[in-house]
């Protein structure tokens, strides 16, 4: 206040005020310089360059040759990349719905005061802090057809014991099981937080009306938790489209990404890695990256359009 009054009185302090404004600008710019420079160099330039590279043929040793949309045409006629595209969709739509349904049920079971809730919460979230390549490794060991725990259990239950890791029609199912197992805790925590925000008075009112637990779940909990479901769905689908670690280890890890087994589970990100860094087809790999980006944008955009139909905001 004093400063403003002074500024009115004499022009000299007006000058110092201007100076202090310039000072604020200076520090403001200085503080954002690292992040702006960093993002410019490591994110914005690369994304622009990605689009350009997707229009070239480039093995990273010679200089890039501009070939227009040829890579894109190749993408849609190449069995390999189409297979990776289909695998990505198979993986995403095999993992996400089951994972979300299970985590809704878990969150609902935990949304009540009873013995052990915090213990369960901590336990179910544990895979989320665990290195994905280690998770993949132990599950690969458990899916081992002769020595693995999974088939031991199936044999005990007199169920068929498939050769999970060497049968091309089962390996993707194995990968999906691992992904559901490792992602369920995260979804559960978000959904549980959403459920705990629902006002208790609604449940009390329904108690008076004598509503059954199922009615309470389907008429109160489920509709009111849809914003959280929407969030979890969006994040999980994006994550599934970009998945790499578990599939990389299941496909052999290291150099061995060839053969029918790898083909049965290789997703687009694994394909980008393989084309770009093993086959050194950098231009083509960039095309795959752009297609993946477009796919993620489309699916996410579609979700935002469709949410009006089913997400319930209070």
């Amino acid at each position: 206040m004093v400063a403003i009054e002074n500024a009115k009185k004499n022009p000299l302090s007006n000058f110092t005020k201007k100076l202090s404004k310039k000072k604020e600008w200076f520090w403001g710019y200085l503080f954002i310089t690292p992040i702006v420079l960093g993002l410019l160099v490591f994110s914005i330039l690369p994304i622009i360059f990605s689009f350009y590279m997707s229009l070239t043929k480039w093995n990273s040793l010679t200089s890039p040759v501009f070939i227009g949309l040829k890579n894109y045409m190749d993408f849609f006629s190449d069995k390999r990349s189409l297979g990776e595209f289909v695998n990505t969709l198979y993986f995403a739509f095999g993992t996400v719905p089951i994972s979300i349904i299970l985590s809704i049920l878990l969150a609902n079971a935990l949304n009540k005061k009873m013995i052990g809730t915090s213990f369960y919460r901590v336990l179910y979230f544990l895979p989320n802090v665990t290195m994905a390549s280690a998770i993949a490794l132990v599950w690969k060991w458990m899916f081992n057809s002769r020595l693995g725990l999974v088939n031991k259990l199936l044999g005990f239950l007199h169920l068929p014991q498939p050769a999970w890791l060497t049968d091309t029609s089962y390996i993707m199912i194995a990968v999906i099981i691992v992904s559901i197992w490792s992602g369920i805790g995260y979804n559960m925590i978000i959904l549980l937080a959403g459920m705990q925000n629902i006002s208790q008075t609604l449940y009390e009112a329904s108690d008076i009306d004598g509503a059954s637990p199922w009615i309470k779940f389907s008429r109160i909990t489920l509709p009111l938790v849809t914003p959280s479901i929407f969030f979890v769905l969006t994040v999980s689908l994006m994550g599934a489209f970009k998945s790499f670690d578990i599939i990389f280890v299941f496909a052999g890890g290291g150099k061995e990404l060839q053969g029918p087994i790898s083909e049965a589970i290789r997703t687009m990100v694994v394909g980008i890695y393989q084309n770009g860094f093993i086959f050194l087809k950098m231009g083509y790999a960039s095309t795959q990256a752009v297609v993946l980006f477009a796919l993620i944008m489309m699916v996410t955009g579609l979700q935002f359009i469709l949410q009006k139909k089913w997400v319930f905001y209070e």
Partner: protein, 277 residues
């Protein structure tokens, strides 16, 4: 009477489901630990041997000695610390500036940052790799650390948090002649310690567990980190699962210990940030 009985039944059913789920969650970890103590003969024995005959750490020493796992460990610790300290500092400093200081073009620059949020990191690994080639950073710590320092999400999230703080504190600091950096360091940072802790935890987790980027920018064994070590070991030691499991236990242990001691920060942190670890 009737209703209480019903509730008991539903709680009983829920407990059974939750306990069965817990068993499914625990078994892989348990199996990992048990296998890591077995000898190769015990590991590949048919019928299955459940418990190792004795708990000795031979596999662990073998992994550390023969497979240069100790080096992977040190590398991982070093880059995790560097990324975390650097990222938290850079992002919080920028977040403070975006939230609290006025300068021309601020909102436009911030909008640009939001656009970066939309880019999946997997999409730009090829040009990023080429940058590393251009900088001659392949197989150096620089490649493992520097590109991971700027985080658009971290800046966005911390800015939202800074916006909620009262303005009066800064004004009084200004009158006292406190510099902008001091205001940020001494006043603003301590006020958002919850958000900072959450962000730090997830940065540590992410840096420790990231596989794809280190896989691409390192080829020398001496520059490898744990996730890459684990993923490539499984290609080399296809059948020695006792060794692979010992390596896995060592690789996940620090994060699991951190999680067990700081669980409440993890759980509330996700609700706060929505970060997918």
């Amino acid at each position: 009477m009737n209703t209480t009985k019903k509730i008991d039944v539903s709680i009983f059913l829920k407990q059974i489901i939750l306990i069965m789920g817990s068993v499914v969650m625990v078994i892989p970890f348990l199996w990992m630990i048990l296998t890591s103590f077995k000898t190769l003969v015990e590991t590949n024995h048919i019928p299955m041997i459940w418990l190792p005959s004795k708990f000795n750490f031979d596999n662990y020493f073998e992994v550390l000695d023969k497979l240069s796992f100790g080096k992977y460990y040190l590398n991982t610790i070093f880059i995790t610390l560097s990324i975390t300290l650097g990222q938290v500092f850079i992002c919080s400093l920028a977040a403070y500036s975006f939230a609290r200081l006025n300068f021309p073009g601020r909102n436009k620059i911030f909008f640009l940052l939001l656009c970066v949020l939309m880019i999946p990191s997997q999409m730009i690994i090829i040009p990023q790799y080429l940058l590393m080639v251009g900088f001659k950073w392949l197989n150096t710590y620089l490649a493992l650390i520097i590109p991971n320092l700027p985080s658009a999400y971290g800046t966005f999230f911390l800015r939202q948090f800074f916006l909620t703080l009262p303005k009066e504190l800064e004004d009084s600091a200004k009158i006292d002649g406190c510099s902008y950096f001091r205001t940020y360091w001494k006043i603003m940072l301590p006020l958002c310690s919850n958000a900072l802790i959450a962000f730090t935890i997830f940065t540590v987790l992410w840096a420790w567990n990231d596989l794809l980027w280190p896989l691409i920018v390192t080829s020398k064994d001496s520059m490898r980190v744990l996730p890459v070590g684990i993923a490539t070991l499984c290609g080399q030691y296809v059948t020695d699962y006792n060794l692979l499991m010992a390596a896995s236990v060592m690789a996940i242990l620090p994060m699991v210990v951190m999680y067990i001691f700081g669980q409440k920060y993890f759980i509330s942190g996700i609700a706060l940030t929505g970060i997918k670890a």
